[in-house]
């Protein structure tokens, strides 16, 4: 059996909310990520979907060690990700890299593209000795489909799609095993989005990368992912293979989310059954007791308020966190 490359267990990240000028009191906790567990297999793409505020970006930040977790564990190739310090942590950082959403703010406007892509070598100087850096950077630019001669240009001279390629080249510089893609194509136009998705697919095959692919666009996630996790208010509510989630969703939230996606085919207009959710997502400061989705769920019963449904195999065997899990096909 293949061992997972990244294994996350009961990960929790709470942000304290403080009030007061001189004596700050903690008046509450934003429960951004609240008990998330999953495994990432080598060479696999795990899609993470959910609406704004569900904690998917916080999850990325914690896995990158940009934020310290409140509790929980993550193992990367037998090493405990959250216990690493100093030189060990720095070495580990090579293995997990991130591609950010906004190609306009994630690149330093005062640095040339060559400096941006080559900056990881400054910190990890043993990966590429000084003499070989220029060639390395040119290779990387070529890999992501940019002209290597443009290494001396500045980010503003590139379009959105090209900037996203620069971000990908930077993430690839240290030859990582895992890349966390946090909404990598959301800021791009449709025609450019397809180019970047193709690039991510090619690179995965070429370098044997594993992706954690975070996005809110369910179509994009489906195209690239082997498995998909659906998040709601800091928890994974359902996780399974792409087929299990899209063809046989069993959690009411997954069903509602899928049914709300507009289908680009006017011939099926009016034939689709859209599950309309009432109201908005509750505040993560004070999430509902029991099942967090119960305030908007049409199946909610007394048990949903008192008992938190476990994420366990239900219906056809994939994991779902609903007391009343039931397969329902919602995508035409």
């Amino acid at each position: 059996m293949v061992e997972p490359i990244l294994s996350v267990r009961e990960l929790v990240k709470h942000f304290p909310v403080r009030q007061g000028v001189l004596f700050k009191r903690t008046i509450g906790q934003v429960k951004a990520v609240d008990g998330v567990s999953f495994d990432l297999m080598p060479g696999e793409t795990l899609g993470v979907v959910g609406e704004s505020g569900c904690g998917k970006s916080t999850l990325a930040q914690v896995l990158m060690r940009l934020e310290e977790p409140t509790s929980g564990a993550a193992t990367f190739e037998d090493r405990d990700l959250f216990k690493l310090r100093g030189a060990e942590l720095r070495r580990m950082r090579r293995e997990i890299q991130i591609v950010l959403q906004d190609p306009y703010t994630s690149l330093n406007p005062r640095m040339t593209v060559g400096d941006i892509v080559g900056e990881p070598f400054e910190i990890h100087s043993d990966v590429a000795p000084k003499g070989s850096r220029v060639t390395k950077v040119q290779e990387l630019l070529e890999v992501v489909g940019l002209n290597p001669e443009h290494a001396n240009r500045y980010p503003h001279q590139f379009s959105g799609g090209q900037r996203q390629r620069i971000g990908i080249a930077r993430a690839l510089a240290l030859r990582p095993k895992v890349i966390i893609c946090d909404e990598p194509v959301s800021a791009l136009d449709v025609s450019i989005q397809a180019q970047v998705m193709n690039l991510l697919g090619e690179l995965q095959g070429e370098f044997g990368l594993s992706y954690v692919f975070i996005a809110h666009d369910l179509g994009v996630v489906r195209h690239l992912s082997n498995r998909v996790a659906v998040m709601y208010l800091g928890k994974i509510v359902e996780i399974g293979t792409e087929d299990e989630i899209y063809e046989r969703p069993s959690h009411p939230y997954t069903q509602a989310l899928l049914s709300a996606v507009p289908v680009a085919d006017p011939a099926v207009r009016g034939q689709r059954q859209v599950i309309r959710l009432e109201g908005d997502v509750p505040s993560p400061l004070d999430p509902p007791s029991g099942c967090r989705f119960r305030t908007r769920c049409w199946k909610a019963a007394d048990i949903c308020a008192t008992e938190t449904p476990a994420l366990e195999p239900r219906t056809d065997g994939h994991l779902s966190a609903c007391h009343f899990a039931e397969v329902r096909s919602v995508v035409p």
Binding site: G161, D189, A194, P262, D265, P266, A267, R276
Partner: protein, 333 residues
């Protein structure tokens, strides 16, 4: 499909707008034309920089001048040319005849006034209502767009609303003076899918009840397929194709439209390489000669590089600006 009334509301005719910038003259609109009837939804589809929002701003008379300058064409609302109308007349029409909602409700609303005040302001200034009557009407409007506990929420500031509620509040504001034509510029782009579904439902329902004309500006092919009656596709400041929504999706008449549809991730092509449109949209400072799409087009021939294709008829109510439009349609049919 909703029944399309015969009454012609808006006609945009050969509209030209340029932006005079320090880098040169950007030809933002190069002869845009479309029309909207009462009760009809026209979707304007295009990527960033294609000119879809500038067209809307010019119709509303809120184009930033400078740098924007209207250099030609006409915009007729019920036969009256807006471009030659006096500023006073334009102000009369704005809000009460043509209203607009924007993508980013947080920056479109004023953060230092309550939501109620911002709705009431236009009622008091334009319709001369008293504070009390305006407040009552504002609460009615918020109820219409299904804001829960409207009587209480009317006193809230925009930051106290969620994203979906802010967009609802903006819809309420745009409906205050009962316009006949509503322009929605990417109304759901900043929202999550479940909220997007709520807002699109609400817009469709209000439109049906009031028989409003709706111009829906978007880049989302899914949203277009769900609500539009007709579609105008824009590229580099021009309409490249206009057709009924079903025809356009089943057999696009312009290579750009066809390529856009092919670049969407599709179920049956999962895991495979997506079709892409090579290259980038042209710079508006330097639009290529001939067909502006030719550097990215798979079909491009010598004639495309030299001669600019004009919009020509392609069956009933359908136009395309491609020399090979008939072949494009047939290759899909």
């Amino acid at each position: 499909m909703s029944t399309v009334d015969d009454e012609l509301l808006l006609e945009v005719d050969d509209l030209h707008v340029e932006f005079r910038t320090s880098d040169g003259v950007a030809n933002v609109l190069n002869g845009v034309g479309y029309s909207v009837h009462a009760g009809e939804t026209l979707a304007v589809l295009g990527e960033s920089g294609s000119g879809k929002s500038v067209t809307a701003q010019t119709i509303m008379g809120i184009l930033d001048t400078p740098p924007g300058v209207v250099t030609g064409g006409a915009i007729r609302y019920r036969g009256e040319d807006l471009l030659t109308a006096s500023p006073v007349r334009r102000r009369e029409l704005r809000g009460s005849e043509i209203a607009m909602i924007f993508q980013d409700a947080l920056s479109a609303l004023n953060p230092v006034f309550t939501v109620g005040f911002q709705i009431e302001e236009q009622l008091r200034v334009r319709q001369g209502l008293s504070r009390k009557d305006a407040r009552a009407r504002a609460i009615e409007l918020l109820e219409l767009v299904r804001i829960p506990a409207a009587a209480r929420r009317v006193k809230d500031y925009p930051h106290q609303f969620s994203g979906g509620m802010r967009q609802r509040a903006m819809i309420a504001m745009s409906l205050a003076l009962d316009p006949d034509l509503l322009i929605a510029d990417e109304p759901t782009t900043a929202l999550d899918v479940t909220v997007q579904a709520q807002i699109m439902d609400l817009l469709a329902e209000i439109q049906r009840e009031r028989r409003m004309g709706l111009i829906l500006i978007t880049h989302d092919l899914g949203v277009v397929a769900e609500v539009a009656d007709r579609i105008a596709v824009m590229y580099a400041g021009r309409i490249v194709e206009q057709a009924d929504v079903r025809e356009l999706f089943s057999s696009p008449g312009h290579p750009y439209t066809a390529a856009l549809m092919d670049s969407l991730p599709r179920l049956d092509l999962k895991g495979q390489t997506l079709e892409t449109i090579k290259g980038l949209p042209p710079s508006l400072l330097d639009i290529p000669p001939g067909c502006p799409f030719h550097p990215r087009c798979k079909r491009a021939e010598q004639s495309c590089r030299e001669e600019r294709p004009s919009l020509h008829r392609l069956g009933f109510g359908r136009v395309s600006a491609c020399h090979f439009a008939e072949e494009v349609v047939e290759s899909r049919g």
